[in-house]
Amino acid sequence: MKKNNIIKLILIIVVVALLVVLPLVIKNDSTINLVILVLLYILLASSWNILGGYTGQTNLGHAAFFGVGSLTTRLLWVNGVPFLLSFLAGGVVAVILALIIGAPAFKLRGVYFAIGTLALAQMLNLTVGNILPEMSYNPDLANYQLLPRYYLFLGLTLITILTAAILVKSRIGLGMMAVREGEDAAESLGISALKHKLIALSISAFFAGMAGAAFAYYHVSFYYYMPFGSEWTFDPMMMAYIGGTGTIIGPIIGAVFFVLLKQLLVWNVGEYHLIIFGTLFILIVLFLPGGLVEIWQKFRTFLTKKTKRRKKVLLKATIQNEDGIQRE
């Protein structure tokens, strides 16, 4: 077990180190852009996963938080507020929105919650489009540099993943998962479901908002309503499911897989890329319901079973089976 953890730690450090030096080695904007895109989606998928995967509330309105974060940051920044301040404001405003809508939204359960949040995001999308139909431009296009943007995304992504990892190992995390497994039972054991859902929503919204803020900093020009589009909910959600919800690594794998596969298809297959992508996607959902993580888990249990069986055989040879209970 311990050895396993050390290997894991080393692996993580290597990957992070690689990501840190990547832009210094590969001075290639297109690659950096692609990695930024992957990081952005890891951020979104991981933050979605905190509420959707760990707390069991299928949120179809994640775009609302991404959008609000992005809108706030961009508006403030374009209007001359120092960037760092505008940047943090993005996350804060997303949390405020989460707290405002949280209490009524969590009155809804199951499909109602899902479609309710979808409607909410759609509403914001339309309203922002109505109030702010203008295109906005990056205030300092002249000095546009990709590198700081890259590190911003990288840092933010690492913080999100770390937060999620710490969270799910904590008492609150345990409570969140208990709420997912069964709200009635969780409450009867002293857990306030509403409180835990709100905490999960706030954290989820915060990182989605920060992702939006970083997006506002990154994107040279966009319409204010653009980050509210439903694809900002559905893509990350699909990534989380493809990778495996309720795990830390799932959304990461999902995002990498999703973005790279899609880009590869765009670049190589041409006009049929979306048809092929859709088909692959359906096959994954149907035949790997636990996500890509499941492949790994199956592989691992297969391995451990094999070693266990070998050990068992050895044991049998020496001592008689101590308990008669058969359990295969």
């Binding site: 339309l126 489009g129 994107h219 966009f222």
Partner: protein, 403 residues
């Protein structure tokens, strides 16, 4: 008026004939291709526009390459053009990513644009950041050109041209003042281009002798326009100006007919650009006019060939964005040739100094990158798109008032 061009070189100067005479010059090895990059919405909501644009690019490049390519003085030879175009699914983020990819991997010397204002707005900024000349059509939004961008060029009529010309054309086509419509209803789509054009329509109406009787905004994607139509009717409007997208435009004309509103003149700047407009709207869409930017019936050199090709490929004459897209490549090729190098800034300067005939007529650029181009008025007649103004280009007579 076009900005005075500082370059002394005559536009039509036969560079090809001059270069070979300098025989002894040692040329560096020429690249295999002149790389051009584009991100085009082939799928998603702008898919129909993007596909027309792509056809135009492909035709032009094929034509130029059939001739060996573009002569580049620096290398002393003709080099063929190669376009790397990726689909962006009508998503600006993906478009940006595509442009960065072709920039770094293909080291493109120029970008060609996709389609629709919102997409251009995102991609032109990338061109500016990467300092790559960018030629784009299929957007009339003027404001985008007012951001001081140096690398953006658009040989396409812009909102101010459209607002000015609608009244100019109407006044020319309907000479007797009494017959002209007087009360305008403007349905303004709530987008920044809609805002811009709507405002210009309103501002230009008075001086041209018209009154705006009704002005309303609506959100794009609205399926029901009955409120707007009834209010316009109540305001006695006899002319409709708008800039809806195609589905909204179809809904507007159908619902106007259903509600019995019969304005004398309808101009929907964008909606009827779909080749299927006539079929989709039937009699409701007949006699609706628009500014197409180009029409296959224009009588400039090269159009006949394009139409013939399009006829074989799609069994109809070229769609309206095919010509402007074709012209973009013509302008770019001329710019490269004039620059005599593949240096992007040199090409940019050469394009800025453009003064040439293309399949969309004579093109020159203003300092803001907007083009001085022909702005033809087209009208749907019996399910066909006819060119009705200016008179020297027309393919059919203007039908007025709407029967």
């Amino acid at each position: 008026t076009p900005a005075p061009t500082p370059t002394p070189v005559a536009t039509q100067a036969p560079l090809e004939t001059q270069a070979p005479t300098a025989t002894e010059v040692q040329y560096p090895p020429a690249p295999e291709y002149i790389e051009i990059g584009a991100s085009i919405p082939l799928t998603g909501k702008f898919g129909s526009l993007g596909s027309q644009v792509k056809v135009g690019y492909d035709y032009a490049i094929a034509d130029i390459n059939a001739d060996g390519g573009v002569y580049v003085a620096e290398y002393g030879t003709k080099i063929p053009l190669r376009l790397t175009a990726y689909d962006d699914e009508s998503d600006p983020t993906k478009a940006v990513s595509n442009l960065e990819k072709v920039f770094t991997e293909n080291n493109v010397v120029a970008y060609l644009g996709g389609a629709a204002s919102g997409m251009h707005a995102a991609t032109t900024a990338i061109a500016e950041k990467n300092k790559v000349p960018y030629l784009g059509v299929s957007f009339a939004w003027w404001n985008i050109h007012q951001r001081g961008y140096k690398y953006l060029f658009s040989p396409f009529p812009k909102s101010p041209d459209q607002a000015r010309d609608v009244f100019k054309a109407l006044n020319e086509l309907v000479p007797t003042k009494e017959e002209r419509p007087t009360n305008i209803a403007i349905f303004q789509e709530k987008t920044d281009w809609g805002n811009e054009l709507g405002g210009l329509f309103k501002a230009d109406a008075g001086p041209a002798g018209y009154t705006v009787a009704y002005y309303a905004e609506y959100a794009p994607g609205t399926t029901d326009f009955s409120t707007l139509i009834m209010e316009a009717q109540a305001a006695n409007a006899d002319m409709l100006l708008g800039m809806p997208n195609t589905p909204d435009g179809i809904a507007i004309v159908k619902q106007a007919a259903e509600l019995g509103w019969e304005p004398k003149f309808i101009m929907l700047v964008r909606a009827p650009d779909a080749a299927t407009w006539g079929e989709a709207t039937g009699t409701a869409g007949d006699s609706v006019t628009m500014f197409a930017g180009w029409h296959s019936g224009e009588n400039f050199d090269g159009i006949a060939e394009i139409n013939a090709k399009h006829q074989t490929d799609f069994s109809r004459p070229a769609d309206i964005l095919v010509g402007p897209a074709y012209a973009c490549v013509q302008i770019l090729a001329a710019g490269i040739e004039k620059a005599g190098t593949l240096d992007r800034d040199a090409i940019r300067d050469a394009i800025a100094a453009t003064e040439m005939m293309t399949v969309m007529g004579n093109v020159s650029f203003n300092a803001d990158g907007t083009g001085n181009v022909l702005n033809p008025l087209v009208q749907w007649q019996d399910g066909k798109m006819e060119l009705v103004w200016p008179a020297d280009q027309k393919t059919a007579d203007f039908v007025y008032p709407i029967p």
